[in-house]
Symmetry: C2
């Protein structure tokens, strides 16, 4: 039914062609902003907006990441084994995650994520983002599931529908029972600091870099998106 494969095919074709030029990363000294890689204001192409960056990935980390997207499965389905594309949780990992979820954890902070990641690392490759995403998705889908269920229940048991949902939404279900769910507050998150950097900055010719103190336990940073040019 779905044309997923077509999509993929087209996708890959494109991928193959693109080249990427991530910016020549000149030294971050920022002497001149103009020199910033920044994809030249990201205007790379006047017209091509959406581009999906051929380069997409890594700069920072995972080299294998890149490799994967190219050919990997065009040929056969077998994967290179080393750096697959996306995280595939092992049963044990899932077990732990679900345990935590049932325990009441919903949105672990960076520290917690770190801890969990470490723990789960014992059972297979995993990164913090995986944990983060897992909780987001699980929470959302669990809620969604409940919603649907509740709706069904309502429609079958009672006849009065206090609220008409546009489609199937349920007002505000209560997620898990535990937790008093006090007032709904939003609070700051704990972002890692990008770099020691910046702050002082003072003048202009900063050498910067500086830090890189290897001792860093780990750097956290929310940064989310990627060059996408929407």
């Amino acid at each position: 039914m779905r044309l997923h494969h077509f999509h993929v095919a087209a996708y890959l074709e494109k991928a193959a062609s693109t080249s990427s030029s991530p910016p020549s990363i000149s030294s971050p000294s920022l002497s001149s902003f103009a020199a910033l890689p920044l994809g030249a204001l990201q205007c790379l192409r006047p017209l091509a907006p959406k581009i999906s960056f051929p380069e997409k990935r890594k700069m920072v980390v995972l080299p294998e990441f890149a490799r994967v997207r190219n050919a990997s499965r065009l040929l056969t389905c077998t994967v290179p084994a080393s750096g697959t594309t996306r995280w595939n949780p092992s049963p044990d990992q899932i077990k732990v995650l679900e345990m935590l979820y049932r325990g009441g954890m919903r949105t672990p902070n960076s520290f917690q994520i770190e801890q969990i990641t470490e723990e789960l690392g014992k059972y297979g490759r995993i990164e913090g983002k995986n944990v983060f995403y897992w909780f987001q998705n699980h929470k959302a889908r669990e809620r969604q599931k409940q919603k649907r269920a509740a709706l069904l229940t309502l429609s079958t048991t009672t006849s009065s529908l206090p609220e008409a949902e546009t489609k199937d939404g349920l007002g505000k279900e209560e997620a898990s029972s535990s937790e008093d769910a006090s007032s709904r507050k939003r609070r700051c998150r704990a972002w890692g600091d990008v770099h020691g950097d910046v702050t002082t900055t003072a003048g202009a010719g900063a050498e910067v870099v500086a830090d890189c103190t290897d001792d860093v336990t780990l750097e956290l940073f929310p940064l989310s998106p990627q060059g996408k040019a929407n």
Copy 2:
């Protein structure tokens, strides 16, 4: 004006009292996990609200994180002064950001954000997240503005409304005009790798690691939320 402070106060009070005893995590098979700090399954209260890190700067990562959750600003709401609450972009910073935006940048990747942050750091305190959020918000609000405008235009010029929007949204406007909006593809982002460290702290003492090739330019990490217990 607003009573925000009260909210915070109440919130904090609660925080002080709770202690949290997460369900005894009967470890399925993963022995060590139980020992994890993890804030005990996060059953504890969402930590301190907004704190604005008193001394943020370099410390690189989470040490302060921990500190924060404890007491930090339970006392008064007033902020220490050094670390104000939220980022307040200087005119120069905004100028640069808008320039980039007009240049076409919409969703800078982690590397770009880093670069920008460094650059803007010259004009005042700023962190990567600020840049990240700025683009998110600017993009969203710009679009929103356009939407509204487009809608108005439509309603005044033409009379036929192809689509009825629930409120005011426009189906799928094209953001900026230029751009061919080729196939909409989504690509991977560049997360920092969490582990790397892992090993050391690892509760079980697994050596693992392996990679950790120090070459990493910087560690990025999206982590978003925080303990919230919904």
